[in-house]
């Protein structure tokens, strides 16, 4: 079994008021030297069976049509092997 991670972020040109609010709170908390914060979403999909090209293509369609709104968001897909030894 493998995990596929889909990260969804607002496009660079889209204003992120939530990220800005987080960034503005940082100096108050004593965190200096952080000039920008962008907030996004991370989806972890546990895939039954092999993560082959066909499975990734289906996940790409899913991300494009549902997990992200490509009018305002970009997404990246990566496979994260679940280490059998850790179980």
């Amino acid at each position: 079994m493998a995990r596929v991670v889909v990260d969804v972020m607002l496009k660079p040109e889209i204003l992120d008021p939530q990220g800005q609010a987080v960034q503005r709170a940082l100096p108050r908390l004593g965190f200096d030297g952080i000039s920008d914060v962008r907030q996004g979403k991370r989806f972890e999909l546990e895939v039954d069976g092999p993560v082959d090209e066909a499975a990734l293509a289906r996940i790409h369609d899913l991300a494009e049509s549902f997990l992200a709104n490509t009018v305002i968001e970009d997404f990246t897909i990566r496979v994260e092997e679940v280490a059998e030894a850790a179980k």
């Binding site: 889209i14 204003l15 008021p17 939530q18 609010a21 709104n69 009018v71 305002i72």
Partner: protein, 226 residues
């Protein structure tokens, strides 16, 4: 005979009853539609009302857009069925790509609820013929995710084609680009806006005016005269 106008209730819809009432006040017959319905019960038009369908999870409107009822709605809207999306309904229509652009969190990050002044920019859509172009109206606005955004090319295209149907006046309540409060599709049958005309159809409630009523009388006239 009068027109039958469907109002879809999704899990989390809030304004379905008010919308049904507005339709009745205008003289048409409201028809309750459920998100799991696979047909539209032969209605002549549909309103997607406000609320927080599916808790606004993922993105406002993103999950409702894949409800069973949306399948016949998409198909018929593309063939000319008049559809009005109010607030969450507008968000659903953009998620379904029936209308361009999308809505982000209000730029100030607060829920906003106020009487809002708008200018009706396009009085030729199926839902706005009882207004005159340039008319100023006051109707309630209440939302969290009302900031209309689209890329510059889309915005220029909308402006050039007269598809910015409503604009915020005096005060931009959510950071919407070019003060856009609502847009129409190319054919003028699908219209969406963030403010709530259905809450302003009787003098007793809403803004104390009936500035929202022409939405519902416009569509009634269009359907009855068709």
């Amino acid at each position: 005979m009068t027109a039958r106008i469907g109002v879809v209730t999704f899990p989390g819809s809030l304004d379905d009853r008010d919308t049904q009432r507005a339709i009745r006040v205008a003289g048409a017959e409201p028809v309750a539609l459920w998100h799991k319905d696979k047909d539209l019960k032969q209605v002549d038009a549909v309103v997607l009302c406000g609320g927080f369908s599916y808790g606004d999870y993922l993105r406002a409107g993103a999950i409702a857009r894949f409800s069973p009822v949306m399948e016949p709605l998409l198909e018929q809207a593309k063939a000319g069925l008049p559809v009005l999306g109010i607030c969450n309904g507008f968000q659903i229509l953009t998620e379904a790509h029936l209308l361009p652009g999308t809505m982000l969190r209000n730029d100030h990050l607060h829920f906003i609820c106020r009487d809002q002044k708008l200018r009706v920019e396009n009085a030729e859509t199926a839902w706005t013929t009882d207004y005159s172009a340039g008319q100023e109206i006051h109707i309630p606005l209440k939302n969290n995710d009302g900031q209309y955004v689209a890329d510059a090319y889309t915005l220029d295209k909308l402006e050039a084609e007269g598809r910015v149907a409503f604009r915020y006046l005096d005060f931009n309540p959510n950071g919407s680009q070019r003060d856009i409060a609502g847009v129409t599709n190319e054919a003028g049958n699908v219209v969406g806006l963030m403010p709530h005309p259905e809450h302003a159809v009787e003098p007793l409630i809403g803004t104390g005016r009936t500035d929202g009523l022409p939405f519902f009388t416009s569509i009634l006239k269009k359907l009855v005269n068709a």
